[in-house]
Amino acid sequence: MMESQWLLSLGGGMLAGLSALILMLFNGRVAGISGILAGALQHRAPWRVLFLLGLGAGAWLALTLGWATMPAFTTLPGWPVVLLAGLLVGIGTRLGNGCTSGHGICGMGRLSLRSIVATLIFMAAGFITVFVTHHLL
């Protein structure tokens, strides 16, 4: 059970890495989800919209075909916290120019110092936040 989860995570991660490689090799673009979303909101470039449609369709396909199970979402906090978290993610990824995919995969994969630092910081902030919300509050 434990081992199969690691393998699924590894396999899913490899698919995401392949996706990022294809987008950069063929289109010259960075597969950073927050950046693609922000760009789609600004200029509505068709490639961004299609990437996002594919993103939704890919996960839908995996869930429909039974390659993945729909999460229970039972651990999510109340709506005010979800709202705050969404705002922080939106503002933070614009300010810091990237999220888990852009900095964590594409930037780190290029050995970009900026992305390595950004990834270390958002991971640390995530660890600290979970520590505070799960163990202190």
Partner: protein
């Protein structure tokens, strides 16, 4: 053609998000919970992605002057570690830790219609628009206002 590769790349990414378990907020907070019942398996998501992307980038992308389809390959920003990068990454990490959702998994789950996921996406879009349409002027000093290419 480049629209087709874009759609295909999106599809692969969405498959990866669902199969890897990144779409499950409980797994993500479990990964971030070092002091609790730490579940390290999601580290393999980034590991697996880098295992494919990194050699592919250095062997196939970096030697090229243009993409396979003749598009310019996006400029890599000059290595500058400023308060903007650090503050932004910290805010993002706090939001990520609060719920266990980041942009890729959130948008992957759009077809689920799950109310909290919809709320998260709406709030994230609001945050992006808030920043791009005003907050940027307040948070980013004029000096570094020169538009930085968005990494992600």
């Amino acid at each position: 053609m480049k629209l087709l590769t874009s759609l295909f790349a999106g599809l692969l990414f969405g498959l990866g998000m669902a199969i890897s378990g990144m779409v499950d907020p409980a797994r993500v907070t479990g990964f971030l919970d070092l002091a609790g019942a730490w579940d390290p398996s999601l580290a393999f998501v980034m590991g697996g992605a880098l295992l494919v992307f990194m050699p592919g980038y250095f062997l196939l992308v970096k030697p090229r002057r243009q993409s396979v389809l003749g598009e310019p390959i996006v400029a890599v920003p000059t290595p500058r570690l400023d308060r903007r990068l650090i503050g932004g990454a910290a805010l993002f990490g706090i939001g990520w830790g609060l719920v266990g959702i980041c942009p890729g998994p959130a948008l992957s789950l759009i077809s689920s219609g799950q109310p909290m996921i919809m709320l998260f996406i709406a709030a994230m879009v609001a945050g992006i628009l808030l920043f791009d349409r005003g907050l940027a002027r307040v948070l980013v000093p004029a000096r570094s206002k020169a538009r930085q290419p968005h990494t992600a």
